[in-house]
Subunit: 386 residues, 2 copies
């Protein structure tokens, strides 16, 4: 049973001071349904990623809440949570439900409202993705965790901050063409290096912003798309999800994300493709170092050579393997519970030829979403021309 | 692709002052794997329900954490959350993953550590399952929500507290035979009525206790069970999950759980059975009134007649339709993130003929788990004799 993507949408990413979790998700869901030419009553399954809503707004049980507000009260609904990969897990559940023959229409998505709270509260809430007993208790939060990974990587492969900064320069530039992106201004290597230090070697422009946003995608069975006459062009070719130790301290190599390697291996195998076949990528650049680790885990660069991508233009929109044409988490923004489906939204638009940073005739797209420091990872391969 | 249950286990339910979320779940998971004659490395997918771990212990991302500690780091892992139905949602995802042909072995389960926190903190955390904007803000917490449902029901159908109390009397008695049950003493109608009032008309013995506990089940594909020579006797015949308004105020009838009716309708249809075919039931008796509403939603009693079940002995272990032979949430206990799979554990043992309150030759079993006041509900039909 091939699963097709009938419609996608993201809200504006940034600050939504007068909105709420339920309102923002409903906006994205209704826009995705309109894009699919379907109605809320068509939804049979609803899977929604949300990470810190209960911690910040005292609201859990958001699957049911979102089904209620979208107007899909009859649907099966649940929240999925894999930290920053929560929405990718939602998408994977939706794909399974359809592939299992249990549903024809699944709405998958995610939402996060982060701005209403202070930066300290958000940082503390996000730290729930790390190991509370062994990391948070030692004072580690995520900028520090990724800084440790960056330090090991830079030391092992002789990479400097200038090369990390090239990732931000590329993604900021991409973001300026994407109307939903939170950051709408370019930067340069010098500005990244001179931005305020956060956790050595990472400075402010090495880090993704705090973002309000929601994304949704309507997944349908091939048969349903035919019966309803839906114009679907993109299908889910395969996905992989894998895990690793929760705490960084338990990993033999801090500069390597094994969950991503495993998830990619499974996704490639299920999709019947190899890294060379991939035409466009949205990956988890929560920090500049994360993009470098990711392009290696996904097989686009050899170990230790990932920094070359942004420096030499290989990952540019017109490069060998375009990465984060949306602006990525660094510029588009990172509403953590929504990010995985936000990536699928961007890849779908690329494969449908309607992306603001359109690459030339892509056929295979890939999304890569990391939970925490890499304790979980989801890789999804999409195929155009359905 | 038929999904079979290869092994099940629950920890002791009650107080585990020297354990933790990761330890308790690992205990249940390893016991379920042993029951299945499988190893942690065999797990391809891990879905775990957990509701208030982040709120109480600052630990989210528990899917990955549990995969890590169980020894299944390569597995896909995620947390599912549908309030008190979180583990049932986990089970449903595991079934879909196998039915989709994406995995042969899924570990599904759930865990909740509730005792370490005070009753006020637990009550506040559980209130995250209700509508924070429209219910919690008005001072409603769950005993109050179910008390409202009870008041409407009792008024509409002329039912007294004595009839609600009969549910507690039955389930307490069943619990005394179940070694894992938290409450190990019988009660009588008078004791229920004289127990401390909580929210009129509900008294303390109308309410489930605060519980630490974990449960796990190993799901396998039929083909895998054959290849590995596993002795499986129980299969998943069908499941349904549905939603309703998050807030009680939006429902036309407070004394009716429509999500349960819809979930049951879907589960019966998929399993190809009707209520008359069901031989044994574990259902969501978080409060005495909840069992009465549930037996009606599931089609075992006409509307307004559910109280008859416990009063007349129709829902007793040797009755027409045995309900909560485990002791149910009222006596076995209710570790919220684990409850749905805990019910599946009990039903599996019944269908395998190894339950401490064994009913005579059951062939079809059913579990029913409610999220919040009924904004979500999962119904799972299991079949023996696989």
């Amino acid at each position: 049973m091939t699963v097709q993507i009938a419609g996608v949408a993201s809200t504006q990413f940034g600050e939504h001071p007068s909105s709420s979790t339920r309102e923002l998700f409903t906006d994205a869901a209704l826009a995705a349904l309109a894009d699919a030419s379907l109605s809320p009553g068509d939804i049979e399954e609803l899977y929604a990623g949300n990470f810190i809503g209960d911690l910040i707004d005292d609201q859990a049980h958001v699957g049911a809440m979102l089904a209620d507000y979208v107007g899909a009260r009859r649907a099966a609904s649940m929240r999925t949570e894999s930290a920053c990969a929560s929405a990718s897990s939602a998408a994977r559940c939706g794909v399974h439900a359809i592939e299992a023959g249990n549903a024809d229409v699944a709405l998958v998505g995610g939402v996060e409202m982060m701005h209403a709270s202070g930066i300290q509260e958000v940082t503390d809430a996000l730290a729930n993705a790390a190991d509370n007993e062994y990391e948070n208790a030692a004072g580690l939060t995520f900028p520090g965790i990724y800084a440790l990974m960056a330090q090991v990587y830079m030391d092992e492969f002789g990479v400097g901050h200038e090369e990390l900064a090239a990732v931000a320069v590329k993604n900021y530039e991409n973001g300026t063409a994407n109307p939903i992106a939170q950051r709408q201004e370019e930067t340069d290597v010098e500005s990244v290096l001179e931005s305020p230090p956060v956790a050595a070697p990472l400075h402010l422009q090495d880090c993704c912003p705090v973002t309000d946003g929601a994304s949704a995608a309507v997944l349908v069975s091939e048969e349903y798309a035919e019966d309803r006459g839906l114009e679907t062009e993109v299908s889910v070719a395969g996905s992989g999800q894998a895990s690793d130790s929760l705490a960084l301290q338990d990993r033999p190599d801090l500069a390597r994300t094994r969950a991503a390697e495993r998830a990619a291996e499974d996704a490639y195998e299920r999709a019947g493709v190899s890294p060379e076949d991939v035409d466009v990528v949205e990956l988890h650049d929560c920090f500049t170092i994360a993009e470098i680790l990711a392009v290696e885990s996904l097989g686009f660069f050899e170990r230790g050579e990932g920094a070359r991508g942004a420096v030499d233009g290989e990952t540019a929109v017109d490069g060998r393997i375009p990465v984060n044409t949306s602006g990525g988490l660094l510029a588009k923004g990172h509403p953590v519970g929504a990010t995985g489906v936000a990536q699928i939204v961007e890849i779908t638009k690329q494969l449908e030829g309607r992306h603001p940073n359109q690459v030339a005739d892509p056929r295979i797209g890939l999304s890569h979403t990391v939970g925490g420091s890499g304790a979980s990872c989801v890789v999804t391969v999409l195929e155009g021309g359905a």
